[in-house]
Symmetry: C2
Subunit: 141 residues, 2 copies
DNA sequence: GTCCACGTTTAGACTTATTCTAAATACAGA
DNA sequence: TCTGTATTTAGAATAAGTCTAAACGTGGAC
């Protein structure tokens, strides 16, 4: 499992250092859309050396720039990170705060509905609601 | 014009002080989706007394709580304020950074497309693109 | 194998947006 | 007029994120 993370970073032009590997590994293994601080807390014990917040931010920015993960914003002012790079939107459970992936195909009509006045380059839908019947499978993997 | 702002605040349970009036007046008169600091800069000269940033933030939060304006987030970490309380989404011009209102009817299919797995309470679409043929009228008023 | 240049990491300082605090003001009603 | 309460103010505090300068680690040149 560590091996394909190493390869993933390499093929994206990010040198796979221990700090970067453990951060990428964590992001690849969760669907929770963690904040930078949540990444820091989750990962700092997994290294023999002390981990700097600057390294976490540097790594997250490097992974975003390399296209390995993406930033997601739901509430104002909180950046979250997401290793799901498929084309998808987000559903925020207003009871739990959970952020759930919604595949883009599910919302395909949006571009068509906008008509010809606007040339859509990209868009993102954030939906707030409740999951019918408890925890939803995290689609859009 | 000052009179209906006063009334608007009163009917929403916000006591119309000079500071609050001038802030609300500014928000009602623009389509630019300003940040808190842009509000502060625009408004500070319009009062005989010095204006505190705390008052701007207090007022903006009070106006949001009272339902007079809403918060809008486009880029991560920047909260913008919008006196357009009609049901609408936002189009971000990726050339100019302008934030343009899109009426909700234009994107009506979204709820239907989501199916029965998710109960949608609200959603917001942020679209990045280019306006075809220069400046678009600010719809959704 | 040694050395070095360069990329990476670290601790902590810094910046910026926002909230908090405590004191000063304003003012509606008794 | 008096007084309690709401509001405003300046500045301190907080929190997310960036920057800095020093220390570290390592892959090649030799
Ligand atoms: Mn970023
Ligand atoms: Mn707020
Ligand atoms: Zn996602
Ligand atoms: Zn708007």
């Amino acid at each position: 499992m560590k091996h394909n993370v190493e390869e993933l970073l390499s093929t994206h032009g990010v040198k796979p250092t221990p700090q970067r590997m453990v951060i990428a590994e964590y992001l690849l293994g969760t669907h929770s859309h963690p904040t930078a601080d949540e990444v820091f807390q989750a990962v700092k014990t997994k290294l023999p050396v002390s981990l700097s917040r600057a390294t976490v931010y540097n790594t997250l920015n490097a992974l975003v720039a390399a296209g390995v993960v993406q930033e997601v914003t739901t509430e104002a002012g909180r950046v979250r990170y997401d290793a799901n790079m498929s084309d998808h939107h987000h559903f925020v459970d207003i009871e739990t705060g959970d952020v759930i992936d919604i595949p883009a195909e599910t919302l395909n009509q949006i571009k068509l509905e906008l008509g010809d006045k606007y040339k859509v380059r990209s868009f993102h839908v954030t939906i707030f609601g409740e999951v019918v019947g408890g925890k939803a499978g995290n689609t859009g993997e």
